[in-house]
């Protein structure tokens, strides 16, 4: 059951509804994760440059440089090398940039959870992914559809709407009792409540477990958030000092946690959309002061990362158009052909089995994270390192890489590559989630043996119960 806090039309955030408001904030963060991840996995970050080069050469040889004049072989080779390198850099950068945002959204989910845990009690993270797509940010004005869709200009525009530092046009038309026009503004209502009502340290229960900083749970950079430039020099998408977890023990730390979420996301003073002709338009002119969220000013806020990608993808299109005309779309060279908002139930049998396993693993991430809010620090560390990191990188990542290798015919009669759907997998209480994941793996691997190599990784997952009270006596987490 998703939070209905904003749907209940509150007039303000108060101590009485604070718990619901924080839960709503957590669910807004969770709602972004499958959207960004879906788009991330639509990108082939390391396509075959030789193959791309050959396609470009074939196209160029059929084009005229100017009327009646064909490109020479040397020109064809030079242009193909240049354009294929641009694809290699952009594809990898787009992946690194979106993944860097995903990591920070997970951090935001935990920061909000820390605030809720300190002031109101345990956050609820399980089965909170939006069940219907397109999804809408609850209470956001204006409402706008959010799809699980492959990388495109439209999808990046949606990302920018989600992360917009300024209110979107047509924002004043509805006027619900607690309207918010940006996510930052919603957090502002929560901050107001904290400033007004939660001043004393006695309001904060720091004995309840929280995810604390300096444990490496959400390391800002790794090999997946970097890309290589044209000269193959590494470029990092996240800055190290853009923020870590914050242990919420008083008013100052609570406000600091919320401020970090807003700074990394929308940026406090970013330029936002440019209004042209009464419409929110993408501004590719420059990135302003508020575009950076870290002290060294080397990392863009989420809105601006997406803004930059949108503009660079436009440049890529323009350059290809210059040589190859309107008919050739360079995005087909590195973006998987995913259907928009696919559902596991609509997939053919074999894909469905792999997709079910993928959904169970992604849902288990939330089971494990929620369990951390009932666990002492060493257990939290074990859950994170041996469970969450391993699941993200070596199980979920592998499955999401495997799914696009399977094709199916959609309801529209067109062929698509299978995509991870990131639907909630509702675990039964009759056995542990891990046991159910193992069962799903055995079913999936029997149908699709290419994933058999994941067996040890799945058996090595920590055994985290769905709820603390369901844990058996002496049940070891690492069993």
């Amino acid at each position: 059951m998703l939070s209905k806090f904003l749907a209940s039309q509150p007039t303000e955030v108060t101590p009485e509804n604070f718990s619901e408001a924080m839960q709503q904030a957590i669910e807004i963060e969770i709602a972004t994760i499958p959207v960004y991840l879906f788009t991330y996995y639509s990108i082939n970050r390391t396509p075959d440059q030789n193959h791309i080069g050959q396609i470009i050469k074939t196209q160029l040889l059929s084009k005229e440089k100017k009327p009646g004049v064909l490109y020479t072989q040397q020109e064809v080779d030079t242009i193909a090398k240049e354009l294929s390198a641009k694809i290699m850099v952009f594809a990898n950068k787009a992946g690194a940039s979106i993944l860097s945002v995903v990591i920070e959204e997970m951090l935001h989910m935990s920061l909000s959870s820390n605030v809720k845990q300190a002031l109101a009690g345990k956050p609820q993270l399980v089965n909170k992914v939006p069940p219907v797509w397109p999804a809408y940010l609850p209470g956001h004005e204006p409402s706008f559809p959010i799809n699980r869709a492959k990388l495109s200009f439209d999808q990046l525009y949606t990302f920018m709407q989600i992360e917009s530092p300024n209110k979107l046009l047509e924002a004043d038309k509805k006027g619900s009792p607690l309207p918010y026009t940006t996510i930052g503004q919603f957090y502002g209502f929560i901050e107001d409540c904290i400033k007004k009502y939660f001043k004393g340290a006695e309001s904060y229960d720091s004995r309840r477990p929280q995810l604390v900083p300096k444990m490496g749970y959400y390391a800002q950079n790794d090999i997946d958030t970097l890309y290589y430039n044209k000269e193959h020099k590494p470029k990092f998408e996240n800055a190290e000092d853009s923020g870590d977890l914050i242990h919420v023990i008083d008013q100052a730390s609570a406000l600091k946690a919320l401020n970090e979420i807003v700074e990394q996301g929308e940026g406090h003073h970013g330029p936002g959309f440019k209004v042209v002709g009464g419409k929110d338009c993408v501004d590719c002119q420059r990135f302003g002061e508020g575009a950076y969220d870290d002290k060294k000013r080397s990392e863009l806020a989420h809105f601006d990362k997406f803004n930059q990608l949108w503009c660079e993808m436009q440049q890529l299109d323009d350059e290809f158009k210059h040589y190859l005309g309107d008919d050739f779309d360079p995005k087909t060279l590195f973006i998987n052909n995913f259907e928009t908002n696919p559902n596991t139930a609509d997939y053919p049998d074999i894909i469905q089995k792999v997709s079910n396993l993928t959904n169970a693993v992604s849902s288990y991430l939330y089971v494990m994270t929620e369990a951390c809010y009932s666990a002492e620090q060493n257990t939290q560390y074990e859950i994170f390192m041996f469970g969450i990191h391993k699941s993200m990188m070596w199980i979920l990542g592998s499955l999401c890489g495997e799914l696009p290798n399977m094709n199916y015919i959609g309801k529209d009669g067109l062929q698509y590559q299978a995509a991870p759907t990131f639907e909630n997998y509702v675990f039964s209480a009759s056995s542990s989630p891990k046991a159910q994941i193992i069962d799903l793996f055995n079913i999936a691997a029997s149908a699709y043996p290419n994933i058999s190599y994941l067996k040890d990784r799945i058996y090595d997952l920590p055994n985290v119960p769905l709820e603390g009270y369901l844990a058996k006596s002496e049940q070891a987490i690492l069993a």
């Binding site: 390198a85 390391a219 000269e231 193959h232 074990e382 040890d456 690492l478 069993a479």
Partner: protein, 210 residues
């Protein structure tokens, strides 16, 4: 040599969190080798993958091999560099427990750190420096590593079983047609060596940072 021969658990490994399953020693039970993460990081004679090195620091390769972050079975197996936080990445080859240590072994010469004071610099050079410091404390002489900058990726790929580096951002040793990969690697190594002292100082401070 497989990880299981190091006495760190069975497959699937339970790492540090479960009881061991000891077998009765026999005369044929091989003496366990010290676990280390790469070429040139061995403390003892015969402690490299091939068991043929003459003395400390001369080993040809890691005493084990694992694929990446969270997949190692034991203490000291973490290669570091591509995943993990700033503090972890300052201690390549020195992880305390299974599934820690942030990245794969062996550590190819071209690998860089992605967090902390060593960001963008050679992981192997830092690991070797930390190893030499440990040997110095133990009053041991250390001989040169077979490759002075660590094992090159191309060499690792010639070994049995090949070599698989981790991550989704692609091959570290590569070119899109506008650079010489070897020159890039050499530039990174030269910079890392020149800044090693500063890197160590910064790493030392890392644990005190907010």
């Amino acid at each position: 040599m497989s990880a299981n021969q190091n006495g760190c658990g069975s497959t699937p490994s339970n790492g540090c969190g479960s009881a061991p399953n000891p077998t009765k020693p026999t005369d044929q039970t091989p003496a366990p080798k010290e676990l280390h993460a790469c070429m040139g990081l061995n403390a003892c004679k015969g402690h490299d993958r091939f068991g043929t090195n003459d003395c400390a620091g001369m080993g040809y390769c890691a005493t084990q091999q694992h694929v990446c972050h969270t997949l190692n079975n034991c203490r000291g197996q973490g290669g570091c560099g591509l995943y993990g936080d700033a503090a972890e990445q300052c201690r390549p080859g020195e992880n305390d427990c299974a599934f820690q240590g942030s990245c794969a072994t062996p550590i190819q010469a071209e690998r860089i750190s992605t967090m902390g004071a060593n960001t963008g610099k050679s992981v192997w050079l830092l690991a070797r420096e930390l190893f030499e410091q440990r040997m110095e404390k133990a009053k041991r002489n250390v001989s040169p590593s077979p490759y002075k900058n660590g094992p090159p990726q191309k060499w690792l790929q010639t070994l049995d079983g090949g070599y698989d580096s981790c991550g989704n951002s692609g091959d570290k040793y590569c070119s899109f047609g506008f650079n010489d990969p070897a020159a890039n690697a050499q530039e990174m190594i030269d910079k890392s060596r020149a800044e090693l002292k500063y890197t160590l100082e910064e790493c030392h401070c890392e644990k005190d940072k907010d």
